[in-house]
């Protein structure tokens, strides 16, 4: 047996023996809760109503398998790409949930690995891997959204500390997070992209205050964050002073691939067909009884198939050592638009049962569908709007003039 096969056998045995039952996805389609439920986001403020969530996090963190490919010195598993692939395949096969999710693993971690100082890596990555700190992203401001580089939150050096003043907005989970990675203006007198710095700070620092904002979906995942004379030690700059725009772009790359990945391979059976069976039924030929809905479900499923094939194509090219092709530029745009279409179509399938907000007469899945439709509207806004994606592709890929 080859070394990798050995690794697969051991991994499978360990996972199967150690993963608690509630950390496995149910096999019955449609009975799994939304992706974010019952997953560990980590952090000092985390509560674990289900103790198995914490138990699984700790077990996996001990092996370094919350961040399988990161070096062991930083709390990762030190696995090769091939080993990491085996781990994720075995987890999928055994229907095991991820032990930890969040911006630490998907955004700031990869950025620190690439650009952080050795001390920063040792200090922050270990905490990320063990799920001890949760991160939020402080980019957007009231007057700086798509035009992010015009941000105005000001940082002025005072001795060994930056003093930060300003306001961030749409900061997802700021109220639940322990640390923020943040873009601030450190030089107002140069081209706007050249006077920005990437800073990390503790949300418990004096001068930081957070106010949740309610979304149209009724939830409050994001906040306004106010920064008043917040003092940040100099060694918490990543990538050098006035080099923040480069950091921001590198991190946006991670963010966009995370967002498009999130919509990939989630569905196993065709949930829209399952829903249509329940709410619409079949005609005598065995076809869904509403021909228009049937056509729209087919269209959407086929669109999804095209996206999945494109993601696969991109992965295969990467495996052959090729640079990401032009196709990779469309993922964020297309995956989010598709998710918007999917959640919207689900409401048409449900019909009047999708009217519910709360109270009697609607089941949990129906209420969730309505809220998912609303939440999904934000998919093409967060992480760079669809229009901005189209601008970028027009310029970088098609070479169209400004």
């Amino acid at each position: 047996m080859g070394e990798l096969e050995e690794f697969r056998k051991e991994t499978e045995a360990w996972l199967d023996a150690n993963c608690p039952p509630s950390m496995r996805w149910s096999e019955t389609p449609g009975t799994n809760p939304a992706l974010n439920d019952d997953l560990a986001w980590g952090g000092r403020k985390a509560t674990y109503p289900n103790p198995e969530v914490k138990q699984w996090l700790d077990l996996m963190a001990e092996k370094g398998w919350t961040a399988p490919t990161w070096p062991q010195a930083y709390g990762g598993g030190g696995l090769s790409k091939a080993e990491a692939k085996i781990l994720s395949e075995e987890m999928r096969r055994l229907r095991i949930k991820p032990p930890l999710v969040g911006f630490g693993l998907t955004m700031i971690g990869p950025l620190l690995l690439e650009y952080g100082s050795e001390e920063q890596k040792l200090r922050f990555l270990n905490e990320v891997c063990r799920g001890e700190i949760r991160w939020c992203q402080g980019y957007s401001e009231p007057d700086a959204g798509s035009d992010l580089a015009s941000l105005r939150t000001r940082a002025i050096l005072d001795g060994d500390e930056w003093v930060v003043n300003g306001q961030k907005v749409w900061t997802s989970y700021a109220d639940l997070s322990d640390w923020m990675f943040c873009l601030v203006r450190t030089d107002p007198d140069v081209r706007k992209q050249e006077g920005i710095t990437f800073l990390l700070f503790d949300m418990e620092s004096p001068g930081v205050s957070v106010k949740p904002i309610e979304l149209i979906s009724g939830y409050s995942p994001f906040c306004e964050t106010f920064l008043e004379d917040v003092r940040v030690p100099k060694d918490q700059v990543v990538g050098g002073v006035n080099n923040g725009w480069t950091m921001a772009k590198a991190l946006l790359g991670h963010e966009r691939s995370m967002i498009s990945e999130a919509f990939h391979e989630r569905e196993e059976s065709n949930q829209l067909v399952d829903l249509a069976d329940k709410y619409i039924g079949r005609d005598v030929h065995g076809r869904l009884a509403d021909a228009t809905i049937r056509d729209r479900i087919a269209q959407l499923t086929m669109n999804k198939a095209c996206l999945d094939l494109t993601l696969r194509r991109s992965k295969e090219a990467a495996k052959q050592g090729q640079q990401p092709g032009p196709e990779s530029s469309i993922f964020k745009y297309y995956a989010t638009e598709l998710n918007k279409d999917r959640t919207a179509l689900a409401l048409n399938v449900l019909g009047p049962q999708a009217l519910g907000w709360e109270g009697d007469g609607f089941d949990a899945a129906e209420l969730q569908a309505t809220r998912s439709w609303l939440r999904a509207r934000g998919n093409s806004i967060e992480g760079g709007t669809s229009e901005v994606q189209l601008n970028i592709i027009a310029k970088r890929v098609l070479g169209l003039p400004d």
């Binding site: 065709n270 067909v273 249509a276 069976d277 065995g286 076809r287 869904l288 049937r294 056509d295 479900i297 087919a298 269209q299 499923t301 086929m302 669109n303 198939a305 095209c306 996206l307 094939l309 494109t310 696969r312 194509r313 295969e316 090219a317 052959q320 090729q322 032009p326 196709e327 469309i330 745009y333 297309y334 229009e387 189209l390 601008n391 592709i393 027009a394 890929v397 098609l398 070479g399 169209l400 003039p401 400004d402």
Partner: protein
């Protein structure tokens, strides 16, 4: 599974691209049209394609071919599509030779396939009947079994490259009702046989087809291709493979049309700036690009499925044809619009792309047809 071309395939594709660029700019299609060429293509160029091995790609080695796959064939078809190359790869190879390959006897394969591979025989598949829309098993043409063979009676339309073919393959019904999948047989037919009447059709894309009228045509028993009454299944599979091939050609044509349009966006000036700087046009150009990339994935997925003998082949072919149909029409329409007045002139090549896009869309099922088929295959 492979959705990325390997080195050999890439090399093969580059060679095809060079050949097409050198030998067949779109102006050649225009010349063929303007000179009223009967065939609508060049037999001389067909011969040179055979030297490159194009007609041999999907023919097994046992019959003088190369025994390669659909991913390989797609490389050639895509490059042909890029410049709207009109040579009869779809009709002779994907329809004709595939019918022989999938339905014929050992003897028939040995007789016909090597000649197709060497470029010395043109085939046409006469299956489509007026009003059948996209149902390849709708067949009212009759075959009556006699003492020494069969008598054929009926009419076929849109027989692609039917006027030029050295041999015709005709579907005719031995039993059953007009729409039955069972009871259809395929026959090899000499276009010069008594009772065969062929008349020319020109399609919108300047290609050639034929109406085939069969009035009491006598064919020997040996003309039956494969087994009696079972051609419905063969035809479906042949059309599926031809559909995958057509999609690869469409993928190339979409790129030809997009490149032309993008080029115009970068050169044409109005209001003192390049028109490609207008965001209203930029976003629509990106939309075209997105469709193109998704189409490429779908085409590769379908061809790979055929090569792997995947059980999802039919589904993936529908995914590809639906996508390519919509994308090709979008790119054609936008191509004309973004060229403004010049896009409406016969003088400009974008119109050739638009016409071919439509013709391909309406061949082997449009997007709506394939969505319906996909839903059926998926059980909803």
């Amino acid at each position: 599974m492979a959705l990325v071309l390997n080195e050999d395939q890439q090399l093969f594709k580059n060679t095809a691209a060079d050949f097409v660029k050198r030998e067949s700019p779109v102006s050649r299609l225009r010349r063929l049209r303007d000179s009223g060429d009967q065939d609508g293509f060049s037999r001389e160029l067909w011969g040179r394609m055979a030297e490159l091995g194009w007609q041999s790609i999907i023919i097994p080695e046992a019959y003088g071919g190369l025994g390669m796959g659909y991913l390989d064939l797609a490389c050639v078809l895509e490059e042909c599509g890029r410049n709207l190359v009109p040579e009869p790869l779809i009709s002779t190879l994907l329809l004709g030779a595939n019918a022989v390959l999938l339905g014929g006897s050992e003897e028939q394969k040995s007789e016909i396939l090597p000649r197709v591979a060497e470029g010395s025989m043109l085939l046409a598949l006469a299956y489509h009947e007026r009003g059948a829309r996209y149902d390849c098993c709708r067949c009212e043409t009759r075959a009556e079994r006699g003492e020494n063979g069969y008598t054929l009676q009926g009419e076929k339309v849109l027989v692609f490259d039917g006027m030029a073919a050295d041999k015709l393959l005709v579907s005719a019904r031995e039993s059953g009702a007009a729409n039955d999948r069972n009871g259809i047989s395929l026959f090899l037919l000499d276009p010069n046989a008594a009772g065969v009447e062929l008349s020319a059709q020109s399609t919108v894309d300047t290609r050639k087809a034929a109406v085939l009228r069969l009035s009491g045509v006598e064919v020997p028993a040996a003309a039956l291709l494969g087994s009696s009454g079972e051609a419905g299944t063969v035809l479906s599979e042949v059309i599926d493979r031809a559909t995958a091939g057509l999609c690869a050609e469409m993928l190339g044509s979409m790129q030809g049309a997009s490149a032309m349009t993008l080029d115009y966006l970068k050169t044409r000036e109005q209001f003192g700036v390049k028109i490609g700087s207008f965001q209203a046009l930029k976003h629509r150009a990106v939309q075209m690009f997105v469709e193109l990339e998704l189409s490429r994935s779908a085409v590769l997925g379908a061809c790979d499925a055929i090569d792997q003998g995947s059980e999802k082949t039919a589904e993936l072919i529908s995914v590809a044809k639906a996508r390519c149909s919509d994308a090709a029409v979008l790119i054609a329409h936008e191509g004309i619009q973004m060229h403004g007045g010049i896009g409406m002139t016969d003088e400009h090549d974008i119109g050739f792309y638009a016409k071919r896009a439509r013709a391909c869309e309406l061949t082997f099922g449009d997007a709506a047809y394939h969505r319906d088929r996909y839903a059926r295959l998926q059980g909803f």
